[in-house]
C-alpha cells in the first residue's frame, strides 16, 4: 500500500497520462490509499479558481470521491475496485503533533498526510523534489521514520 502526498494526489485527480504520478501508477502493483487531507488540499486549491472553472474541477474531484471508501466498506465481490481513503485517525493526531514540531508551520496538508502515513505505517508515494527530500531528511534526523517510495521524474516512462 502507498499513500500519495498532496501534490501527487493533485496529479491523480487531474488524470492526464502525461503527468509523472500517473505514469508511475501505470506500473504500480500496490494499492493506492488516498489520505483524506491530501484530497482536502486538492479541494482547497480548486476552491480558489473562478466560478465556472471551480464547477468543472469539483465535478472531476467528485467523480473520484464517489468511489472512495474506507476499510469498513462492505464486500464488493466482483464489483469494480474502490479507491481506499484513509481518514485522520486517533494515531495520526499524535503523529501530527510530532511531525509539526519538527517541520514547523509548513504546508498543513502535507504535514497531515505525513501523519497518516506515520501512524498507519504505510509508505508515502512522493515525487523526488528538493522540498520532499528535505522534509523526509529532517524527519529522519529527528527519529521519525516514514518510508517513502520515490518517483524519479527523469526515469519515469524510460
Amino acid at each position: 500500500m502507498l499513500i500519495p502526498g498532496p501534490v501527487e494526489t493533485f496529479q491523480i485527480v487531474d488524470r492526464s497520462a502525461d503527468l509523472p504520478v500517473m505514469q508511475h501508477l501505470a506500473v504500480t502493483e500496490d494499492v493506492i490509499a488516498f489520505a483524506a487531507p491530501a484530497l482536502a488540499a486538492v479541494a482547497d486549491a480548486y476552491a480558489g479558481e473562478s466560478e465556472a472553472e471551480r464547477f468543472r474541477l469539483n465535478n472531476r474531484l467528485d467523480e473520484l470521491l464517489r468511489d472512495c471508501a474506507d476499510t469498513t466498506a462492505p464486500g464488493l465481490g466482483e464489483a469494480a475496485p474502490y479507491y481506499l481513503m484513509l481518514p485522520f485517525s486517533q494515531g495520526a493526531v499524535h503523529s501530527f503533533a510530532k511531525i509539526r514540531q519538527v517541520l514547523g508551520e509548513d504546508d498543513i496538508f502535507s504535514t497531515q498526510t505525513y501523519a497518516i502515513a506515520h501512524s498507519e505505517d504505510v509508505p508515502l508515494l512522493l515525487i523526488r523534489t528538493a522540498t520532499a527530500q528535505a522534509h523526509m531528511g529532517t524527519l529522519y534526523d529527528a527519529g521519525i521514520d516514514i518510508h517513502v517510495s520515490w518517483i524519479d521524474t527523469s526515469t519515469e516512462g524510460a
Binding site: 487531474d14 503527468l19 500517473m22 462492505p74
Partner: protein, 163 residues
C-alpha cells in the same frame, strides 16, 4: 414477509456443492486470494462431496490406521469421514490447518472491498491530453499558524451574536 426454510434434499446438496466447487476456488486463485496448491486440494474434496459415490473413511478404517488417515489429509488433500454404521450419519471433512487457514483468509479478504492498485487506478482514470492549467500551476503550500492555547481558552461569543 418471513420466508420459511426447509432442509435441502440430497440432490439439492449435490447441486449446491457443485456450485461452490472448482469454479469458486478458481475465482479465489484468479484474484490472488488463495494459493493454487490449497485450491486444488480443497477442490478435490468438493468434487468428492458432489459425487454420489465417494471414498469415505469409516470409523473402523480410521481406527485400523489413524496415522495413514492423517498422512493423507496433510500430504494429499482433505478427506471425508462418516460413521457408516448409522443410517442418519452426517459426513465430516477433515482438512489440514494450512488448508483451513488459507481458506478462511481467502474468504475474509473476498468479503472485503477490493481496493484499486496503481495499475487499476491508471486503467480507470488515465486520460489523454495535457494536464489542466490549475495542475500545471502547482499546489500552493498552505501553512497555518499553530493554535495558541491562550487564544483558544480566552475565546468568548461576540456580544449581540446570539441567535
Amino acid at each position: 414477509m418471513i420466508e420459511r426454510t426447509y432442509p435441502l434434499s440430497d440432490a439439492q446438496h449435490h447441486q449446491k456443492r457443485k456450485r461452490v466447487g472448482r469454479s469458486a476456488m478458481g475465482v479465489l486463485v484468479e484474484r490472488g486470494l488463495l494459493p493454487s496448491i490449497n485450491a486444488e486440494r480443497i477442490s478435490c474434496v468438493l468434487d468428492m462431496l458432489s459425487s454420489p459415490v465417494s471414498d469415505v473413511w469409516s470409523v473402523t478404517r480410521i481406527k485400523s490406521n489413524p496415522g495413514a488417515f492423517m498422512s493423507v489429509v496433510i500430504k494429499q488433500n482433505p478427506q471425508i469421514m462418516s460413521d457408516t454404521k448409522r443410517k442418519d450419519a452426517e459426513q465430516i471433512v477433515a482438512l489440514s490447518v494450512e488448508d483451513l487457514v488459507s481458506l478462511v483468509e481467502a474468504a475474509t479478504q473476498a468479503a472485503g472491498p477490493g481496493f484499486a492498485t496503481g495499475k487499476e487506478m491508471y486503467a480507470r482514470l488515465a486520460r489523454s491530453g495535457a494536464p489542466l492549467e490549475v495542475t500545471t500551476r502547482g499546489l500552493a503550500p498552505r501553512s497555518q499558524s499553530r493554535l495558541s492555547i491562550k487564544d483558544a481558552l480566552s475565546a468568548r461569543p461576540a456580544a449581540g451574536a446570539e441567535g
